[in-house]
Amino acid sequence: MKFAFVTARYGADISAGPDHACRVLAEQVGSRHDVDVLTTCARDPRTWKNEYSEGTDRVRGALVRRFAVSQLRDEQTFHQFSDRVMASPRARADELEWLRRSGPWSAGLIDFIRRQHKSYDVIVFFSICSPITVTGASIAPERTIVFPHLQLCPSLRFEVCADVLSSVRGVGLVSAAEGRLLRSYVRATPQHEELVGIGIDPSPEQSYPRHQQDPADTVIDEEAVAGTGEGVEPESYLAGRGVPFRRRHRLYGRFALYGGRVEPDNGCEEMLDYFDTFASTDDDISLALMGIKMMKVPEEPYIRLAGVLPERERMIAYEAADVTIAPSADDLVAQPLLESLAVGTPVLASARNDAAVEHCKRAHAGLYYANREEFVEALRLLMTNTRLRNRLGENGRAYIRQNFRWDAVLGRFDRLVSRARPR
């Protein structure tokens, strides 16, 4: 079969959101089918400026066709237009214009789909809040699948979104909460829908004790071994998994980890505020922030900035942490949460995120908080109760093995494709 995966951005350096989901799925599907990725030259979602070169490229084995963005985003004009459209009753043309201005809009990409859509068996679009998806899905809805990646925002109430999701052959979801949002908020009735999810590559499970509560044991031993310059035995190396992250960031005590963009919209502001309350009663626990910093972070001794890490190091960081905090209320993919569970680290998620709470409840692998007191109490419980933490970690590993292995995800994707294919 020949697939076309259409997304707004595509690159190995994009590690979150629908674009990341598109890339990892395209890489996996590409090992069994013929996959073309159709995308733009943009990298920054705030400006949609053309940064990648136009033309054909190959990223991790997938053939990528990039098209130039024909309309850059003007923030001021867009906000004025957005206020007008959102405040008053709007026509369909207004909604389309709003989506086009929010970007990225690539006339070349739409032309290509219009000309070449018959050469693909299935066209898979990612993110419904993209003008490329809304316009491109209407070209050949009979062979189109959409992964909407819904996030609660006013533009989801656009009729064009509901029309697109109702007209295409199949809709792929990443969580059950997304399905509920699709029906109750977007009010779309898809022809076929399937909870596909996102695949996680769990690191191989080891039999050694993962958490190091005592900073005087393995960390020092590792340094001593490295200092002698002799060959490191496999046992000592394995006993120190997660230690590279700890050593690099000098985290020798217990610490909680946040992975993702450090910005107020992700719930980071609330998390930092709550953690400050927690740290006032328990001062030997740190908070490591891993990701792009897009807000002012208070200069406290317990806060460590780990920066942006590649995928492998990210997993090591999750493994090194005692607890992963997932404060985002809108992230229905909950990828950091799943990655943390995959390496056996329990999570503390925001109770406003239905998908995260659902994962916690189904996996029995994490707690959730709705206010400051619950955050402090739950974090204290997770940090102090090693037995509970280990048990939650084991549950998380089992949950990911059972539901989010790539073969399971690809099986669900194939089922969706078989339903959605034109007969």
Binding site: P89, Y368, L381
Partner: protein, 382 residues
């Protein structure tokens, strides 16, 4: 349930009867890691753990009601606010229904209701339609129906837009109503919760105020109680080396203290039986015992018999009280008074050197360690 038991099969400590925050102390409780939440075997039930966490938070904040009970209370309050005698009950029902039900989707029938095609003016029966078609050129010769059709189509479009707009506005109004109802409901719930918290805090403040008053009285009484009230027991004073000579003032004070001490012997025994949680050092226990005697003499021994925690928490107080008491106005030591040897002195019979200017505070501090023989005037004369 398994979560409620620790591995030894006993109920965890927080399942005992509620003791009140003022006895346990919120800080101490919050610092305790709740290990009981971990199940000894089987899988961890996240929802159960969350329930425990929430109940702990509720207990700490003084709210003993569950979330459901608070919501019921809020519902009753909301009904009281939305009094049907002052507000139209139909509107209330609509508000409730609008909050519960999903908003209606945009009606699609408006487009078909107001549609008007070009051939609409020629519609009719088959024969009529045939003749209309037949004479259409003649009719067009007499007048032009195109503006008529255009006007009707324009009106159709206007009607359709108006219907769409009205439906949209109605939908928005329904959503606003639902939002307002939700906000109102949550506000009332939060107000209910806050009022319960306020009541709990008020009760706690009253309790703490009573405790402060009690402690004030106790301190005042201790300050006013003369030092002679202390009568150290023989076995407690035994390790202290007895001085060869005893000041007359000590003898007098001991003599004055003996009636009070004698009168409180049964009470002292009872307090001793209660025991203490930690095993204090011998010297400390002696001091505490002396203080308890003083407290009993002052008539303040009406402390609850089951108040062992309070005693444990207040353990340092008797030491301080004793010190205060010793600093209370005592008869000025005579010049012949000499400081007794320290308790750690290995010499049971130290050499006595009368010092005319013995430091008064030291002498006062050492006074509780006076041997029981100080009550004997002959001993003091020696």
């Amino acid at each position: 349930m398994a979560m409620d038991h620790n591995p030894s099969g006993r109920r965890p400590q927080y399942h005992r009867g509620r003791r009140g925050m003022e006895r346990r102390g919120s800080e101490r409780r919050s610092q305790q890691p709740p290990e009981q939440s971990a199940r000894p075997s089987g899988e961890a039930d996240v929802e159960q753990i969350m329930r425990e966490i929430r109940s702990r938070i509720a207990q700490r904040s003084g709210i003993e009601l569950s979330t459901q009970q608070i919501q019921d209370l809020a519902t009753r309050r909301l009904e009281a606010i939305l009094d049907p005698r002052t507000i139209n009950p139909t509107l209330l029902d609509q508000l409730r229904k609008g909050a519960a039900a999903a908003p209606d989707p945009l009606p699609r029938s408006a487009e078909t209701e107001f549609s008007l095609s070009d051939d609409a003016i020629y519609e009719g029966g088959a024969v009529v339609r045939f003749f209309r078609r037949l004479f259409n050129p003649l009719m067009k010769l007499l007048f032009n129906p195109a503006p008529l059709i255009a006007a009707l189509q324009t009106q159709t479009r206007i009607n359709r837009d108006a219907a769409t707009r009205a439906a949209d506005l109605e939908r928005r109004q329904t959503e606003w109503n639902a939002l307002h109802y939700q906000i109102l409901q949550r506000l009332v719930t939060e107000v209910s919760r806050t009022s319960i918290e306020t009541q709990a805090l008020g009760t706690r403040i009253e309790s703490l105020t009573g405790r402060i008053d009690f402690n004030d009285k106790r301190v005042r009484t201790l300050e006013n109680t003369p030092a002679v009230a202390r009568a150290p027991r023989p076995q407690e004073a035994a390790p202290v080396t007895a001085p060869v000579t005893e000041p007359a003032a000590s003898a007098e004070s001991a003599t004055a203290a003996s009636p009070a001490a004698t009168g409180d012997v049964p009470r002292r025994r009872r307090r001793r039986r209660r025991g203490r949680r930690g095993a204090p050092p011998a010297g400390e226990s002696a001091t505490a015992a002396v203080a308890s005697v003083v407290t009993g003499a002052a008539g303040l021994a009406d402390v609850d018999e089951d108040d062992d925690e309070e005693d444990a928490a207040d353990a340092p107080e008797p030491v301080e009280a004793t010190t205060n008491e010793q600093r209370s106005p005592l008869p000025a030591p005579s010049e012949s008074v000499e400081p007794p040897p320290p308790a750690w002195s290995s010499d049971p019979h130290p050499e006595v050197h009368p010092t005319p200017e013995a430091p008064a505070p030291q002498q006062e501090m050492e006074q509780p360690a006076s041997p029981p023989s100080s009550q004997d005037p002959s001993a003091s004369e020696n």
